[in-house]
């Protein structure tokens, strides 16, 4: 079961995760975090494949993804 967790207080609302989600399953929220910024949320709670691209593009390490896939981070 893929789980994606947003540390919304870390988010600066840059939207790179939204831009690079291959399933287009992320959007910026209407509500705002403590800093007054939008943060990402899933459109379809079951739509995440756990690919981790959002994590890779997030400049603020505000996203954590747990995925059943065996691939682990960017290890080469």
């Amino acid at each position: 079961m893929t789980k994606i967790r947003f540390e919304t207080h870390r988010c600066k609302g840059c939207g790179l995760c939204v831009l690079f989600c291959p399933r287009k399953n992320l959007r910026l929220s209407d509500s705002l975090n403590e800093q007054g910024l939008s943060y990402p949320e899933e459109i379809d709670p079951d739509g995440c494949t756990g690919c981790g691209l959002c994590f890779r593009m997030c400049p603020d390490t505000a996203i954590e993804v747990q995925s059943p896939k065996k691939d682990n981070q960017d290890k080469q």
Binding site: P59, E64, V65
Partner: protein
């Protein structure tokens, strides 16, 4: 079970970087590499002058903050005194390729066994968007208001190409953090640059083309396009030296 989460060496601290700034991604990659290589407890980093000056607030390892451009000389001093430690510099384009050009070239040519992470966003970020040595021809900055190239400013300095002629250099690669694929590749390069040092191979530098939405006056999404469409043709990605 694959887990994507913040690596331990990165402190919980929120960064001061602007939304969409590439420094955050570059920081994460360096941090992950240090953790994966298990070298945190023998790593000493240098913080530059520029946007990354507060690097020590984010990395849980020993860090020394250097004068503008002097990181390669400071790193030389540290590494020569403690050859068993892993010493890396993290520098921007102004720091490494303008005020610190001499220190960069000579540390490289001496073959200092250090790892240099060079973040190139073609602009001075911290001081508010002035021309950098890597600002591209035609690029508008606060000190090239009609685009670089009009008034004796010269073309951008290409650091990897420049350093590739030096005998002391072990490894040079230009990478980017503007697409997930580039990010993964940048991490591979950074890991190689640290591994080279562990193996005693000498001077390794990884250039990272990075976004600066605030000073480019673009959105984060437009900034990604700027790197991919404007910067990559001028600064081609790839390995420039690998010995």
């Amino acid at each position: 079970m694959a887990v994507f989460k913040r690596t331990p060496i990165l402190k919980d601290q929120l960064t001061h970087y602007c939304p969409g700034c590439g420094h955050g991604i570059a920081h994460r990659l360096v941090a992950e590499v240090i953790d994966e290589l298990g070298i945190r407890e023998r790593t000493i980093g240098t913080a530059p002058v520029g946007c990354a000056v507060l690097l020590y607030n984010y990395f849980n390892c020993d860090v020394i903050e250097c004068a503008h451009g002097r990181s390669p000389a400071v790193a030389t001093g540290i590494k020569r005194v403690q050859p068993d430690k892993i010493v890396f510099t993290y520098q921007g384009d102004g720091d490494l390729a303008a005020i610190g050009t001499a220190e960069t070239i000579h540390a490289a040519n001496r073959g200092e066994n250090i790892t240099v992470i060079f973040v190139n966003n073609a602009i001075y970020g911290m001081t508010g968007g002035q021309m950098a040595p890597t600002t591209m021809l035609g690029q508008v900055t606060t000190t090239t208001q009609h685009g670089r190239g009009g008034q004796g400013e010269g073309p951008p300095i290409k650091v990897c190409e420049l350093l590739s002629t030096l005998g002391g250099v072990c490894y040079l690669e230009r990478t980017a953090v503007s697409t997930p694929k580039d990010v993964m590749n940048a991490k591979r390069a950074i890991k190689k640059a640290f591994q080279n040092q562990i193996d005693g191979k000498g001077f390794s530098l990884v250039e990272v083309l990075s976004m600066c939405p605030t000073d480019w006056k673009l959105s984060p999404a437009q900034s990604v396009d700027f790197v991919n469409e404007k910067m990559k043709p001028v600064f081609p990605l790839g390995v420039y030296k690998d010995q």
